[in-house]
Amino acid sequence: MNTNLDINHFLDQDQRKDLLRLLTAGSVDDGKSTLIGRLLFDSKKIYEDQLSALERDSKRMGHAGEAIDYALLLDGLKAEREQGITIDVAYRYFSTSKRKFIIADTPGHEQYTRNMVTGASTANLAIILIDARKGVITQTKRHTFLVSLLGIKHVVVAVNKMDLMEYSQNVFDQICTDYKSFTTTLSIPDITFIPLSALKGENVVENSDNMPWYHGKCLLEFLETVHVVSDRNFEDLRFPIQYVLRPSLDFRGFSGKIASGIVRKGDELMALPSRKKSIVTEIITSNGTADYAFPPQSVTITLADEIDVSRGDMLTHPDNQPRFERQFEAMLVWMDEKKMDPNTQFFIKHSANTSRARLDSIKYRVDVNTLQQSDCEAFSLNEIGRVVITTNKPLFFDPYHKNHSTGSFILIDPITHNTSAVGMIIDKLNTNDIPSRITDPETRRMIDSGQSLIGRDELEKRYQQKGVTIWITGLHGSGKNMLAYHLERRLFDSGATVVLLEGSTVRAGLSRELDYSPADRAEHLRRVAHMCKLLNDQGIIVIASFISPTESIRRKISEIIGNERFHLVLMSAGIDYCRNNKPDLYLKVEKGELRNLPGADEIFEIPETAQLIFDASKETPDAEQIMHYLAEKKVFPGE
């Protein structure tokens, strides 16, 4: 009787555990298989008879002398057992009293980059092994780059073979320092260092007495407690329709896995691409109906209205939409033995959609060892780089860093049907890179030059001014707009014909569908620049006040307007001054409520050349100085 109660208790406990998927990266030499063997063995997963089979195998071809060779437990396929290396991704399962684990065990050599990428695609956490004798080596950098490329948020750096370095704290500290110094440019939010010896089982499942200077958790304890639920995106509802259930005329349900966000009964949802709206009437989960559902649940949703939705469509909240584009930039990993033929019309599978896709251009290839970028015509197996892709039909996507489900895709070879490449979407294409739809040169020339019968000299004579743009750049809170409004007043009072453009008014209308991401910001500023050009063409002076954070963006703006008509003014102000001046947005960024604010979480490059520079913290910006400048340049008053 008693035992039955206990086992029930055990089963109930076991059911409540959550699941952690982890990746191990390292080579046989680093003791990776030994480490995994330890985790499995010491958590009592390895069954008795597997062990006895192992002893038999070890005698015949073991590499570890008399002791049990843990690596033999793991290497499944015959061929690789003979070669002594792991050539694919192997999945292992073990469980402790706190959590269940799935290990994706991948080989470490460069020629197995694709395997590691595969293992990383489903992992919440990566263990990167370093041999304490060798320290941070090329392989370590490669593994870390791949882990960050695939967006794994938690990395455990397991410094192994500490027993061979006399458990030296200095050795460990030096490795930590080296590792940190090269990861600053990679976006991995959580890195933990653990010194251990897999062979001796030290700091793996139990803390070691030989490293009293280490006060952190042992590896298993860390894996059991690391918090990963909040890594999921609960903000942006994306429900790709996988299957439409229509068992009878009075039931129509939309089935799929929630990619991100939370859906509640009664929510108003918008179907894409039709943009028709309806209300959620029922959410059917695997365990009955529910009031709400969240990732990674597979559910069926019914709607109040009969709207046309089929596989590949998406349900979202009306105020939070994904991108809907045919072109995007992505990081691509080439998985095929066959070298890329850039002219191929691939199949692209993205979420529940399949379309045709073409590679427009390769921006660069990344050397996985040095992270150096170089030009490239076509990728070979295991090569990685940044590309521009155009699809036949528009896809609903988000940048991969925001949403792994709607930001990832595979390319399928149309002839062999192999999975040739896999990709992570960076964002939609920067609009400056989109070629004009009008390709006929004659038509383009006509459009570019216009047909006005009024000459520029006539305009200058009428307005007594030259049509130029005074572009004011600077951080949010630096006082750009204040200067712009003063200048507008002074010019107007002096009889000039002037128009003022600044961020919020343009975003309210002309750029209303754009957000603050780098790609959208670039598009927003492209529109502003063209507006400046049109107004300048009509002889009108434009004052434009925009953060415009990078040299490349400002260069493009200048090119659109015309370099000779573009006058750059910098409101120079330290970030502290700006934060004091207008704290609201900066505080939001610090709390994590807002993203993409240049100077805070986004880069702001101080221009190398500006016609006028004001130091906001030292002087009140003076419109008079700009008036003098304009007079000197014979802009206003004109000649």
């Binding site: 409540r16 396929l77 192997a90 259930l245 990674p296 597979s298």
Partner: protein
């Protein structure tokens, strides 16, 4: 305080490991139903099949599952398995296809007369391939799990098979995130394993949680047993050779896996409930497939069979 509140809120948006595995399996099953013209679910009547069948029912609830079940009958299955198959599929409104290798059956192939290797090849592997060709299925669900056996640890969830249903371990498609490459040429097919990531304990847990009916042979009972080379073989019909039948003893046993009765060893056990089975499993450590006689043929034998088209 604030962190605690956030943590509590997040708890409402967490599913346990079984529900996560279930969601993954349902997603896979729906993906196959959407992308293939003629899928089928292979049904072995074992506990893993029972779980898979329940997952399919859930995936299309409240509708009917849009593909049939197919059982490859080697003609040497336990009688209780066949009774269970008939009752379950009838009560749950499943379309059931039963196929067997007629030629093999007519020429009297069986494990006692031809040995396990020939029997398995003719009545299971060949029978399966014939049936797949006959019905022109382009996708077949199987209940294999990666933790069952070493060579399965690297198996894909969507496992590509050529025109001859062969599996080439060196030529498997990469499988990333939950994006499955479902494209095949005419004649090629995909085997799909929706419960790849489940362990034996997960299967039992799920059967317990969902109250899934399974063949009673899994539960301990007094049964007529003959000991053959250390394996406990149950006398299920009159085809058992007389010299073996002479040694029959009634013993309290149960089965950890089910297959052809002469090829499936029982274990001595008192476990007559799921809870007791799990308890036994956790304390008596012997991995699952060792009670299948067919695995002892040769080293790496499962890998060999897989290459030939057996699961």
């Amino acid at each position: 305080m604030k962190n605690r509140k956030v943590a509590e809120q997040l708890n409402n948006y967490t599913i346990n490991n079984l529900r996560e595995l279930e969601a993954e399996a349902i997603y896979i099953i729906r993906e196959v139903a959407s992308e293939f013209e003629k899928p089928v679910m292979l049904y072995s009547i074992g506990k893993d099949s029972s779980v898979m069948v329940r997952l399919a029912e859930k995936a299309f609830y409240p509708g009917k599952v849009p593909f049939p079940l197919m059982h490859i009958d080697s003609k040497w299955k336990f009688q209780e398995m066949i009774e269970f198959r008939e009752k379950y599929t009838r009560e749950n409104n499943w379309d059931l296809i039963v196929e067997y290798n007629k030629e093999g059956f007519d020429s009297g192939i069986g494990p006692f007369t031809h040995g396990s290797k020939v029997h398995t090849d003719v009545m299971k592997t060949q029978a399966l391939l014939q049936a797949l060709d006959k019905h022109r299925f382009d996708a077949a669900f199987g209940g294999a799990r990666r933790d069952e056996e070493k060579s399965r640890a690297k198996e894909r969830i969507f496992s590509f098979r050529d025109k001859f249903h062969q599996w080439d371990p060196k030529n498997q498609r990469p499988e990333l995130w939950d994006i499955y490459n479902t494209r095949v040429h005419k004649g090629e097919s995909i085997r799909v394993f929706p419960i790849s990531n489940w362990t034996e304990l997960d299967i039992w847990q799920y059967i317990r949680l969902e109250n899934i009916p399974i063949v009673p042979l899994y539960f301990a009972k007094e049964r007529p047993i003959v000991e053959v080379d250390g394996n406990l073989i149950m006398v299920d019909d009159k085809r058992m050779p007389a010299d073996m039948v002479a040694k029959v003893k009634m013993r309290m046993v149960r089965f950890r896996t089910l297959g052809c009765y002469p090829l499936t060893g029982a274990i001595e056990s008192e476990a007559d409930t799921i809870e007791k089975i799990v308890e036994e499993m956790m304390t008596v450590t012997k991995s699952e497939r060792t009670t299948r006689v067919i695995d002892f043929d040769q080293e790496g034998s499962m890998e060999q069979k897989k290459r030939e088209g057996y699961f």
